[in-house]
Structure formats: C-alpha cells, structure tokens
Symmetry: C2
Subunit: 244 residues, 2 copies
C-alpha cells in the first residue's frame, strides 16, 4: 500500500534532541498542522472541534533510511537493554509510522485551508502526517492498562533552575513549554554527563543547560534573531552543535 | 512511503456485518495474529507480555478501492448526517489505515513464529496489519477526553434473547462473544426494520435474529459444518445472504 502525506506539522522542535519521548509530556508546546494542497477541504474536518484530543499518524521521516531492527534499546532503559521492536514505540519498525495523541487547541480557516493547532506533540518540525483521527475515549482510553517496562521508568522529572535574566530571554508564551521540556530530562539515557553543557534548538532559541542528579540548570539562552543582528557581517554560529 | 503487511489477523468475523464498530466493544471475541514469514522473529516481540493492551494499525482492505471522501455519514448518527472524514474513524480516508486497541490475551511460539492472541478486535478475518505497538497508558490513555458526537450516541445496548436450545448450538467458548456482538445492535443505523430477519456469519455459524425496540431475539443458529454433513450431495446454501 502506498501511503500519502496529507499534512505537515510546524513547531519549535528544530532538532531531534529535546523532542519529548512521547506525546502529552510537554503539554504547553504548540504545533500547527497544515494540510497538503490536495487535502485542503474545510468539509474534511467538519465536527472535529467537538473533540478535545486527536490522534496523529506520522512518518518517522528522520529514520526512513535506517531500516527496521527486530530489537531496539529503549533510551528510558539506559540504552543497554534490548527489547523487541513491537514491544516499543521505537522508529526502527518495518513501517516507520508514529502514533501520537495530542490536545486540540483550536482551528482556523484561511488561505491554507483548515489549520489545526495542537498541544503536546512529540513530532519534529516539518514531520509529514499520514492521518488525523479523533480520540474516542470509550475505545481508546484504558487507564487500567499495564505498561510493561515503559511504566517502571516513566517518572523522571527534573527540577529546572533558570535565572530571571535568562527567563526574560524566552518569549512569554514559550516559557512553560521550555521548562516542561527540560523537566523531562532530554538527555539520552545512556549519556548522563554532569560536566557537559548541552544545547537544544527550540524555536529560534538555543537553550544551553547543565544537569546534575535531579536538577537541570539553564546556563544560557541564545536567540538566533538577536544573534543574527549582532553577527551581521560575521560568520554564522552553528547552533546545531550539541557539544557547545 | 510504501507500507508493508507485517502480519494478518484470524478470527470469527467472516463478513463486515457484525464486526463491532470500534475495538473493545466485544471483549470476549478472540483473534489470532500471525506474522508474515519475513517478520517471524521471536526477538521482535521480546517484552510484549508485559503489556496488557496493544495497538493494531491495519489496512481497511475491504475499502481499498473506495477512495477517500471529505465527508462521511457515520452509521451511529443514523447515516443521514455528514461529518468530516478526519473527525471520524471511517475507512474512507486518504490513507486507509485503521487504529484499534486490543487486549493481549496470550502469546505462543511455534512453527509460525511468535503468535499473538488478542481480545476485543474490530477487524475482519484476514485483515492485514501494518504495525503492532504497545499501549502505553501514560501517553495513550485520556479518560477525560471529550468525544464529540461519537460519545452522544454510544450507549446502544440491546437486550439479547436466545433459547437454551439455540444457545447449545453455539460452542461454549464463543457464547459470550456472540451475545456481546448482538448486544451492540449490529444493524446499520439507517436500517432498522422490525420485520426483517438478519443473518451474521460468525465463525462457522450463521446467526439469525430479529430486532425490536431494545430487544434482539435470536431465531436460528446454523452450523456450517453440521449443515454440510446434512446437505451432502445437495447444492450448498449461501450463508452470506443477509436477507435470509
């Protein structure tokens, strides 16, 4: 079966590093979903506003060439334990389709057709969607479900420390999302280095932080737009480099 | 993106009529999932037993040629109201991929590789699967979600009446599933005819019933294997005919 891209998502997750491990963990982060021209039909979303949550089915577009692997090492298990790929939500599956539940924030209608704003996505900016479905709690919600190894290791909340000065550098409407993202401890499970300063591209910012025990300390917030003004005429700085 | 069939499901739903409208509604119905030869690797399901529920992503194989439609008429709304296809779980979507949560019953390992037995599926016998994922409640379960129009019309339980004699015709291990299936009122929303006798192919049975108000009365249970014995030498009866 040939699967078509029906829409694309836009948000502040500009690189893999920093994207929450599952949907719903960083609730305040807003994403915009725009349909591909072929599917820009207001009728196709009629009634969607009645739902509070949506399913996104999407392509693991970053991992398309990686192929599948019968076993994978979930980051949450420290990266050393191998689990069957069908017992995980890893992208390294035969059909690289991701499944994420997001909160419907609001919808707009304009030149781009219907546009859907959602919260809590765990998709990178630009990720292609292959389907959007309503979340129907009577069939989708099973709070009593047992979650194997994924449940044991979920509660990894970090305390986030940031100075008032650095907080001012983050646009007001994005502060909560940035703090939630850091509280999830975005560092890879197998790489916990207290000395290292990490950098995450989020929106037009590069957010640098250090981590120690249960505490994350933001050490710098660079705004690309401001940097560009400052650096005019100079060579550009690479913000993708995580070893800053 | 080209999507591969990774597995197939086998169960008692031999025709579209009678399949529950969503997963989890007929909890007692057992299905068997067998991987395609290319994916028969016990390692690929390592750790799956730790989960109580699984997601199945599958092809609406019965509707592959129907194409997509911006609006559809959900059967639960009586078949007269048009909703946007992305506000429904209808098969008439651009990418005909279904999403169903099922309960993991048990697993077996043998000549066919790992075999997964699940309960509560809403897939027809033989449906191809494109993915199996663990159900992870912290990200997938949202009991507080609002479910738009789908919630308003959910509670359609019927009282099912069946004589002891007819009940004896149904194999013991399938009785509960048959009664649950009928209690869902399998009749199309737009076709409520009190006079008519309906017939559902379930396993090797043809289950005939009449419906009136909130009551379904089973009028006959024909077992194909027994009928075949009786009819030896005669022309075969068509059990697919719903107008019996």
């Amino acid at each position: 079966m040939e699967v078509k891209v029906i829409a694309r998502i836009e948000n502040d997750y500009k690189e893999k590093f920093g994207i929450p491990r599952q949907s719903g963990l960083v609730k305040s982060s807003l994403s915009k979903i725009t349909f591909e021209p072929e599917f820009r039909d207001g009728n196709a979303v009629r009634g969607m506003e009645g739902y509070s949550h949506l399913w996104l089915l999407w392509q693991f577009s970053e991992n398309m060439d990686a192929g599948w692997s019968p076993t994978v090492r979930p980051p949450r298990l420290g990266g050393n334990v191998r689990m069957g790929v069908f017992a995980t939500r890893s992208p390294l599956r035969p059909n690289p389709i991701g499944l994420s539940c997001v909160e419907l924030d609001h919808m707009e209608y304009g030149d781009e057709g219907p546009v859907i704003y959602v919260k809590g996505a765990d998709l990178m900016d630009g990720t292609p969607l292959v389907d959007i479905k309503p979340y129907v709690p009577y069939t989708d919600s099973h709070p009593e479900a047992e979650s194997g190894f994924a449940g044991d290791v979920f509660d990894h909340h970090m305390k986030v420390e940031i100075s008032d000065e650095l907080l001012e550098e983050i646009p007001k409407e994005k502060r909560e999302a940035v703090l939630e993202m850091l509280a999830q401890d975005p560092r890879p499970g197998y790489q916990k280095n207290n000395e290292r300063i990490y950098g995450i591209e989020y929106g037009d910012m590069n957010i640098r932080f250090r981590a120690e025990d249960c505490r994350i300390t933001v050490t710098d917030v660079e705004r690309r737009d401001r940097e560009q003004e400052k650096n005019q005429g100079q060579s550009s700085t690479s913000y993708g480099d995580k070893k800053v």
